[in-house]
Symmetry: C2
Subunit: 223 residues, 2 copies
């Protein structure tokens, strides 16, 4: 469908670049970064090695592009227009639940992140800084959200705002792995909402989540 | 020290086999299974390729041996003598806390498991069944422990014994990754105990954990 729609608008080079990133996405997400070769990616998307190197001179550059595109899509769909600068903690959590729901529908994405975030623990991995920064940013957002919730009296007594970011990010990371092993048995969004229900005075409702989805700008088609 | 103690008791073949497993442990834990070659492992421990193949005819066999040794040590140190058959839920959780403390002292082990458990999501990975089985077993133990705690009136009202296993295993998996990125900022055992404190009527005490460590048989020296 996409190929037949306004083909003149798309330079072949751009389509090829997208095809390369798609192939790299699949390869990195299954066998990891170290074990993926540029030759394999070129073969997978039927591009010559010279064509591949024209767009991405190194495997590192390709990895960076794949991760960057994912973040850009998530920002467009979930966070760009609301955080910052909305800084409403409850709204942020609603968006996180929607992101988890969207990820569950695309196991390839969470597989990519599960494999790469573990590989990238090694300080010499080209995505090490990317993941370290990504964790810091997500945890910073969660802390901001909970400070806002606390200020508005929406947190149960005893909730430790100083560690909730570590706990929630850990839960989400771990849920992703179990979900990939048992997609029919692990409901990531439900488990995440249950964890939030333990700390919020008023648990998030289905209505709030649906209303946010309906009010958002049309979703960008994910990769 | 170990090499000079009763050398006659150790056949050179056994020492070599141990050295191979040590080298494989480090390699699998840093670059993963797919990217480790048998040649690299042979070089790392100064064994010929023929010598390596004598002990481990395939890379799969070597992976199996490395994972099996780890489980055996954990059983000897933490679970063998108490679960089953003790089936005291509180004692099981104390042992889990001690296992988390021991793992924190050996980042190589959690790095190995973080990298391999993510890689092994792929159904064609040779450790896929191993990890699937390992998750099932650990979750089964946690469910048993919480059923026991519930029966003894030691759980707070509202705790869902049907999902606590997923939540706790997810938390522990995710904590390991963050701990490997920021060993100084993430206290895995403290976070795990905080999660348990949310569900137990009486949180685990330092005294209980220390008493269990003191009463255990001398710990096997970990790999």
């Amino acid at each position: 469908m996409a190929a037949s729609r306004r083909p003149a608008q798309y330079a072949p080079g751009i389509a090829r670049k997208e095809a390369i990133m798609d192939a790299a996405f699949v390869a990195f997400g299954t066998v990891g970064y170290w074990n993926t070769t540029m030759k394999q990616i070129a073969d997978d998307c039927d591009v010559t090695r010279a064509g591949l190197l024209h767009h991405f001179p190194t495997k590192e550059a390709l990895l960076e592009a794949v991760l960057g595109r994912r973040d850009e899509l998530n920002r467009a769909r979930f966070f760009q227009d609301s955080w910052p600068p909305g800084r409403d903690g409850r709204h942020f959590l609603i968006r996180m639940v929607r992101l988890v729901l969207a990820n569950a529908a695309q196991p390839g994405i969470i597989n990519l992140f599960a494999v790469l975030s573990a590989e990238a623990i090694a300080p010499n991995h080209p995505a090490h800084s990317y993941f370290a920064h990504r964790y810091e940013r997500t945890k910073g957002w969660i802390r901001e959200a909970f400070l806002d919730l606390r200020a508005k009296g929406q947190l149960r007594p005893g909730v430790d705002v100083g560690t909730i970011d570590i706990d929630l990010v850990s839960l989400l990371d771990g849920l992703q792995v179990q979900y990939l092993y048992w997609p029919d048995q692990v409901d990531m969004a439900e488990r995440f909402r249950a964890a939030l229900a333990q700390v919020l005075v008023e648990p998030l409702t289905d209505e709030e989540i649906e209303a946010d989805a309906a009010s958002s700008t049309p979703e960008v088609e994910p990769a």
